[in-house]
Symmetry: C2
Subunit: 308 residues, 2 copies
């Protein structure tokens, strides 16, 4: 029995090792993914994002508890670009406080690495596939919503939960800029703090009404208030996707983002290392460097080849 | 006489409008670049980066003064992802304080926009080409060195100047991670502050000795101390590139980064909009979404087409 079989059969140590391989992205990891990917596609993938200090880890911990109480198994991938350990470690601690550390129905993985552009690493999507194929009912990807993080989570998740909290000043502006576009569900966390109602009201005003507008929920992950409603809303969002057939477009969007990420990674490798560049591309780049060809025309020629 | 001709002939308003077009990246801007790029390639492009608070704008302002005293014309592009205005505006103010606001030999442009991955926008490279073709002797690109900023500046500059300052705690770690790899020259700014010598010493230890190790200079942009030496070191770096022929590899690296950026931008546009996807790619993505093809194999097929 090999590592992939062991992992997918539920061996937790094998699972952890498999994710490490997939995250590393070398040929062993890529080969494993070739076998894993066709067995994935059943899990509900939920992205949880929001500004630093919004209480993402606490909310995810509370959600894990709620989902476990409902009999669902949960895999968590905590991506934290700023600190290699705090995200996942803090989350694991929080869930352990809930005495779930002996619970085989929960698997938590921290990931520090980010893609070369600051986006989600290719390994994140791979880790989602592993947990999905290993039969976790829900896979939660937690990312800090700074820079492109909020948008990237939409590249792996069926349901995007965006957290807000009172007292972050211009956070609504940030929301408008990018977060709201990808939010399927907005949670005003720390609802026990003053100003929570005002934040929710401002959000409702900014978002307007009608179809396609994400629900706005108030919650307090530390007291547990509203967590049940968040879990319900997540499930309800996924059921709507399934019922309307919109899930197919989500799957296509996720597939597109992952394939694009892989293509871009390989292109970057080739372009930055002259030895990895094909002779045709090397010639093009040389001509651009010498001003005999414009960057725009060189890009067009490369893309034309791609179309052919 | 059209806008491009006017701009390249030195009309400052035309220059400003032309950069706006190029920055916008629409077909008008792209067509202008087709004519501008072959006329570029003469300027010395210098990237100045470092952590927030390192005094980049002040140093750039002081460098502009020094270069002007030497009879060189200088174009500046200040890229500030965090605040749309502060970077360029602050810089312009600083240089105005030096009474250079009537000086046709200086052109300053602020750019807020970043590329979709948080890297330098495609428009930054375009703006460099415009200032280059408009005959500025030196083009300085100032970027905040957070995330990928420090690496991106290497994608447009012949000479990368990395700023450090005393009192930033773990900045040396940050330096080691990415900045030092691309630094051609390290400047410990605010050298009048306590701890500057220690920072320089630590850097020397981290960098080691010998060929390829960037010079480490102490400067105080506010008092002007050491600015002359920084300007000398910049010029000396470029002369070495020219003398050894290493400039050809720099030009190739810059060309590769710009073409890659354009290809990635177009790929992302195609992948994210089903209507912009070719039928072949749409089919591939559909198969991936339905788990009939793995993301890895889809990426391979796309890249194989690119090789063909």
């Amino acid at each position: 029995v090999d590592l992939t079989d062991q992992a997918l059969a539920g061996d937790r140590r094998a699972l952890a090792r498999l994710i490490t391989l997939v995250e590393r992205g070398d040929s062993v990891g890529r080969e494993a993914l070739e076998r894993i990917y066709p067995r994935s596609g059943r899990a509900h993938v939920v992205g949880v994002t929001g500004p630093p200090g919004a209480g993402k880890s606490t909310l995810v911990g509370a959600l894990v508890g709620e989902l476990r109480d409902r009999g669902q198994t949960v895999g968590v991938i905590a991506v934290d670009p700023s600190s290699p350990l705090s995200g996942g470690a803090a989350l694991a601690d929080r869930i352990r406080m809930g005495e779930r550390h002996e619970d085989d129905g929960v698997f938590i993985r921290s990931m520090a690495s980010r893609g070369r552009h600051g986006g989600l690493a290719v390994g994140t999507a791979g880790a989602v596939h592993v947990l999905d194929a290993a039969d976790f009912d829900v896979v939660i990807v937690e990312t800090v919503g700074v820079g492109q993080g909020e948008v990237d989570v939409a590249a792996v998740a069926h349901t995007v939960v965006v957290l807000q909290v009172p007292g972050l000043g211009d956070s609504l502006q940030t929301m408008k800029a990018g977060l709201l576009e990808v939010a399927d569900l907005v949670v005003v966390n720390k609802a026990d703090l003053p100003g929570a109602d005002a934040v929710a009201r401002d959000l409702r005003q900014a978002l307007g009404h009608g179809g396609g507008v994400p629900p706005i929920l108030l919650a307090s992950a530390t007291t547990g208030e509203g967590v049940l409603a968040v879990a319900d809303a997540m499930r309800s969002h996924r059921r709507d996707l399934d019922a309307t057939g919109a899930i197919a477009e989500r799957r296509r969007r996720i597939a597109a983002a992952e394939v694009l990420n892989l293509v871009e990674g390989e292109l970057a490798r080739r372009f930055h290392r002259p030895s990895a560049t094909t002779p045709e591309t090397a010639t093009l780049l040389q001509e651009v460097a010498e001003r005999r060809l414009t960057p725009g025309r060189a890009a067009q020629q490369i893309l034309t080849r791609l179309d052919g």
